[in-house]
């Protein structure tokens, strides 16, 4: 093993250590009777429940249903958010029209809009996907707008002095220069998608991880409920890591913080 690989694994272990300590403390508290089962099932029970769910495959269709909803909303938001953010940065009128609406939506907790969207769009997947898309749109638009607006003027001058026309400058300079910020906005949108997804599945759904949490919680199966929460956290963490690894590979020209 090279010294670089060794330090990578050492770093990964060091990051996992605090988590392992928390889980060990949780288990110890349960076993010593300090933490009664009625308050919180032990980590061992939760882990066993998660293992059973994975073995039986019961969690798979719910995962797929959730992925489809979150993916649809997220996809629409990324495509629409980049277009809208670029338009805002380039066209004064669009900026004036969209900015106040965006600032108004920004601080609203998006799950609070779910009941309203269900009245408008029905209780099916369409209203869920719409709320997820709206929630994910905000960070993508803001990041894209800031990225496209913040392009260094010298870079634009440099392109013009090398024969780039105003029509091409968007593709040749503005978009690539804004990419690191857009990528950061999309990363935020991944987390937002998961949050709003689960909230929307609490309210009216027959499938999905949010539905599972809510229904296990409703029947007092706390170990199974927590198992789904942990599964969801692991999934979110994995998605984020995969996304970052993909970015580092695709955007090798940029120095990412981590």
């Amino acid at each position: 093993m090279s010294s670089r690989a060794r330090s990578y694994w050492a770093g990964a272990l060091a990051r996992l250590l605090p988590l392992a300590l928390v889980l060990a403390a949780w288990q110890a508290a349960s076993m010593s009777g300090l933490l009664p089962k009625a308050v919180l099932p032990s980590f061992g029970e939760v882990a066993a429940s998660l293992g059973a769910m994975l073995r039986s495959g019961e969690i798979v269709p719910h995962t797929l249903a959730s992925f489809a909803r979150a993916g649809a909303g997220f996809g629409v938001a990324v495509a629409g958010g980049i277009v809208l953010g670029i338009l805002m940065a380039q066209v004064r009128f669009v900026e004036r029209a969209v900015e106040p609406v965006l600032l108004l939506i920004y601080p609203v907790p998006k799950p609070a809009l779910i009941p309203l969207f269900m009245i408008w769009l029905g209780i099916g997947d369409f209203s869920k996907v719409t709320v997820i898309a709206l929630a994910c749109l905000v960070p993508v638009v803001i990041a894209t707008f800031n990225g496209a607006r913040g392009v260094d003027e010298m870079l634009l001058w440099s392109a013009r002095a090398r024969g780039t026309s105003e029509r091409r400058i968007l593709w040749r300079v503005v978009l690539p220069a804004a990419l690191p910020q857009i990528a950061a906005g999309v990363r935020t949108a991944i987390a937002v998608a998961i949050i709003v997804l689960v909230s929307s599945e609490f309210i009216s759904a027959e499938t999905g991880l949010g539905y599972l949490i809510f229904s296990y919680g409703g029947v007092g199966a706390d170990d199974a409920m927590l198992a789904v929460v942990i599964y969801l956290a692991a999934l979110g963490y994995l998605l984020d890591r995969l996304y970052l690894a993909g970015l580092r590979r695709l955007m090798a020209w940029h120095a990412f913080a981590h």
Partner: protein, 259 residues
């Protein structure tokens, strides 16, 4: 006499309007002949970079005319290559991509483009670095790439805005020699802005001293002696005398600008 390469007539520049307006340049007249290496030196804030940006077409003068080979300058274009102190390069393109950039925009066919890129990689001694990204290069190497990128476009005039200002002294000296070498080889016309008097004298065949703001051309001095490398200027009494003379002229302006 042949027409000048670059001709500035009664060029003035004001930033802003009304009572808050700042006069950056007050009536500049300057004619630069082909193959001339003109350095512009002056106190900071004298508008020397503004002058360069006007020639580049990035800014429009408040009044006056700027002509390149008899054609009025109305905007930026590949006939005027520019190297900035920083941010000339596109971070998302490799060294090769950056050098090829202007050629792609011009629609130069692939094979021809590759040939020109190779030639310019050799010119600035960056063979072997063609697939690196700018962030992987030192400041001096980045400026070499910027120079190659600009030269590959075959501009009529090379504009340089304190291109070595952010580099350490050793790297700066080496790049000064490279620029002199390239200028001699191509006998390009160069307009080079600097606040470093020594650099202005070592590079310029013609040294323009600007006054404190609002910038005016204070004097234009020809250097009528030369050496092979910048190093050799160090023991050259004529060089020392010229440097001192120009420094005193600049110093007067620095003191005049002091509140």
């Amino acid at each position: 006499m042949a027409d000048p390469c670059l001709d500035l007539r009664a060029v003035t520049m004001r930033y802003g309007e009304g009572p808050d307006a700042v006069a950056a340049l007050a009536s500049i007249d300057l004619a630069i002949d082909d193959h001339e290496f003109v350095t512009i030196v002056g106190p900071s804030g004298c508008g020397k970079s503004t002058l360069l940006y006007l020639v580049g077409g990035f800014l429009r003068p408040t009044s006056g005319r700027i002509e390149l080979r008899g054609r009025p300058v109305t905007g930026p274009g590949p006939d005027r290559g520019i190297v900035f102190q920083r941010y000339s390069l596109f971070p998302w393109l490799t060294v090769r991509g950056n050098i090829a950039y202007g050629l792609e925009e011009k629609g130069v066919p692939r094979a021809e483009r590759d040939r020109i890129v190779e030639e310019h990689l050799r010119l600035v001694h960056l063979e072997g670095f063609e697939n690196r990204y700018p962030r992987e290069l030192s400041g001096g190497m980045q400026q070499r790439v910027a120079l190659a990128q600009t030269l590959a476009c075959q501009p009529d005039i090379l504009l340089m805005d304190e291109p070595f200002g952010a580099l350490d002294a050793q790297t700066r000296r080496i790049l000064q020699d490279e620029v002199r070498r390239i200028w001699r080889r191509d006998t390009k016309t160069v307009l080079f802005v600097t606040h470093d008097v020594e650099e202005a004298v070592a590079l310029g065949t013609c040294i323009v001293v600007m006054s404190a703001r609002p910038g005016r051309i204070k004097e234009v001095i020809a250097r009528d002696f030369d050496v092979a490398d910048v190093d050799e200027f160090e023991a050259n009494p004529a060089f020392a005398a010229l440097r001192l003379r120009i420094w005193r002229s600049v110093k007067q302006e620095v003191e005049a600008a002091r509140p």
